[in-house]
């Protein structure tokens, strides 16, 4: 594993406005290989905007993004994919009428000459699932429509790591899942980190976050209120950071506190 001192992805002073609305204020964020960085915050705090800036869907207005230490510009989802940044959307973006292998390779099919190379794609799909120790799919030729919610999430995550990706962004991966399926997906998130990926986990669920995250970054009204080691905070502290931007020593300086 690479030294945890060197983040795979760094954001410095990222700003983003939509018209008059200043959504992100000087956001700094570091994502380390082999670690799960949870990104938490209330609705409207800017989580979605931030990951869309990283994924190349929005362009940041100012600020710098560094990848493996060198500055990069991410202007489109394709740029992000070329760097090795993959995003798993909340609605998963899978095609129901295609099977598992077809979905994993959609948009990046392997061909031999003009013809699809089904055998190679099937083998690679199986290898990727094995690497992630996925045991919940009986066949890589099952139609995605026939899969359960947890299995669909698994396919979407496997699709993201198929291409030697370095950073995987997961947007609310357990939002629609039952208890057992949440368990499977969280295990999978841990395994992503163990296989050396830098993982960004966007989630509302504090139990999930405290269970799998190594580090927690809290967004409060578009600012990073705190970036802390998960082991050093309690659930109450994180909730306070999310709802008020500060908790004891942690967090943003109180706006009205300066006068006291």
């Amino acid at each position: 594993m690479a030294s945890p001192e060197q983040p795979v992805l760094e954001l410095h002073g990222v700003n983003k406005s939509f018209g008059a609305v200043h959504v992100l204020h000087d956001v700094d964020l570091a994502v380390y290989p082999g670690q799960v960085t949870a990104l938490v915050g209330d609705n409207g705090a800017g989580k979605s905007t931030l990951i869309k800036c990283i994924a190349g869907i929005h362009a940041a207005d100012s600020g710098q993004i560094r990848f493996n230490g060198s500055p990069v510009s991410i202007g489109s989802p394709r740029d992000a994919a070329q760097l090795g940044i993959e995003i798993v959307y909340q609605d998963l973006a899978l095609a129901d009428n295609l099977d598992v292998t077809q979905n994993m390779f959609l948009g990046r099919e392997i061909t031999s000459g003009p013809v699809l190379d089904e055998a190679t794609m099937e083998r690679k799909a199986r290898e990727t699932l094995t690497r992630l120790s996925v045991r919940t799919l009986s066949s890589v030729r099952q139609l995605v429509a026939s899969l359960s919610g947890g299995q669909r999430q698994t396919v979407a995550i496997a699709k993201a790591v198929l291409w030697d990706s370095k950073v995987v962004i997961l947007d609310e991966p357990t939002a629609a899942l039952g208890v057992a399926q949440t368990r499977q997906v969280l295990d999978l998130v841990r395994r992503l980190a163990e296989t050396g990926h830098g993982v960004i986990l966007v989630s509302h669920n504090m139990n999930d976050v405290l269970e799998v995250a190594d580090r927690i970054a809290v967004l409060y009204l578009g600012r990073i209120a705190a970036e802390v080691e998960a082991a050093e905070v309690t659930q109450n502290q994180v909730v306070e950071l999310i709802t008020s931007g500060r908790s004891g020593e942690l967090g943003l300086a109180a706006h009205n506190g300066a006068n006291l």
Partner: protein, 363 residues
């Protein structure tokens, strides 16, 4: 979808050894359902007609049947491409007329001058252009396919009537009539063209990236876009091909009749949609095969042919074909409902606790 890879020895369980679960058995049934729905109906029809008439299984009648069904099958296979992407192409019937009249006028005007091949090329270019404009309006302006192609249904028919002055274009030279009325190895050229279209489209749909994208766009345009599929280009391509194939059918029809008939092809778009649906295509997209559309056209052709042989009132035949469409779609829905009530395939989950999957299966 690629039946060969779906049921072949390559489709072993991914990461563990298990008995083939209910999902694998259902996959086989799904594959039969997708595209080959029509085969049982077809077998029943052929057996029944062979027993009921002396004339059905004669070379002469089969040749007749091939001539009758080929033009419908070609249009239906073009229509299928559009239906696979969740679209519909109502303009194909009018394009059949336009293409036929353009080819007829070109050979008529230049009789003895320009070779027939130029007439055919011109007719096909115009047909493909109509399809391409349909596709552009749908893909770029995001207009509903139903409305766009309804517009071009009127525009193409009007152009056809203007060009021909509302009159049938004739007589046409022998070389032009020979296109559709000739035969190779005792099989009519019409049927050879149909077979070529069937083979090429089946290959393209199941073995090329383009085909994969057609099904992906029909399955979920938004997911396809996020995965990097050029959705607009795919939509333009299917409408262009639908127009082109309607143009091929128009040239063949004009050649077969040795006439450029301005009203030719009227309501063929509905016959083409019917053939696709009978052949297992879903108007919700991403389900159906070129073979299915071909078989659908064949079933309708055999019904009409058999009805004539048995002396059945053609009005009854219309009712029968209408009922067949309803039965085909009802079977499809029943399958979807059965799939929804199937136990959860996730081994670590109890049956039934599966909201997203069930929603998806029901579509």
């Amino acid at each position: 979808m690629a039946a060969e890879t779906g049921t072949g020895p390559g489709a072993q369980p991914a990461t563990e050894k298990r008995e083939p679960g209910p999902d694998e058995i259902l996959t086989a049934r799904d594959l039969l359902g997708r595209g080959l729905n029509g085969i049982p109906v077809l077998i029943v029809l052929v057996v029944a007609l062979s027993l009921a008439t002396d004339s059905f299984l004669t070379l002469n009648n089969l040749d007749n049947l091939a001539r009758q069904m080929s033009i419908y099958a070609i249009i239906a296979m073009g229509q299928l491409l559009v239906i696979l992407t969740r679209g519909i192409d109502l303009s194909v019937g009018s394009v059949v007329g336009l293409s036929g009249v353009i080819a007829a006028i070109t050979v008529f005007e230049t009789s003895g001058g320009l070779p027939v091949v130029w007439a055919v090329v011109l007719a096909l270019l115009v047909s493909a252009a109509v399809g391409a404009v349909n596709g552009l309006l749908v893909a770029v302006l995001k207009m509903p396919p139903f409305i766009v192609t309804l517009g071009f249904m009127g525009i193409a028919r009007g152009l056809t009537l203007l060009l021909s002055g509302g009159r049938t274009v004739q007589p046409l030279p022998e070389e032009f009539s020979a296109i559709a009325n000739g035969s190779i190895l005792g099989i009519t050229n019409l049927f050879w063209v149909t077979l070529v279209v069937l083979v090429v489209l089946s290959f393209a749909l199941h073995r090329t990236v383009w085909g994969r994208y057609v099904y992906a766009v029909g399955s979920s345009p938004e997911s396809a876009r996020l995965a990097g599929v050029p959705v607009n280009a795919v939509q333009i391509s299917v409408f262009t091909l639908s127009g082109l194939l309607a143009g091929v059918a128009g040239v063949l029809l004009a050649s077969r009749l040795s006439n450029g008939v301005p009203t030719a092809g009227t309501s063929y778009e509905l016959d083409a949609i019917a053939a696709c649906v009978i052949g297992g295509a879903s108007l919700f997209g991403a389900r159906g095969t070129a073979l299915g559309a071909f078989l659908g056209a064949l079933i309708v052709g055999i019904l009409n042919n058999g009805g004539t042989l048995l002396g059945i009132d053609p009005f009854y035949l219309q009712i029968a074909i209408g009922a067949l469409i309803l039965v085909a779609v009802a079977m499809d829905q029943l399958q979807a409902i059965r799939a929804r009530n199937r136990p959860d395939p996730d081994p670590e989950q109890g049956p039934g606790a599966d909201p997203p999957g069930a929603e998806a299966a029901a579509r």
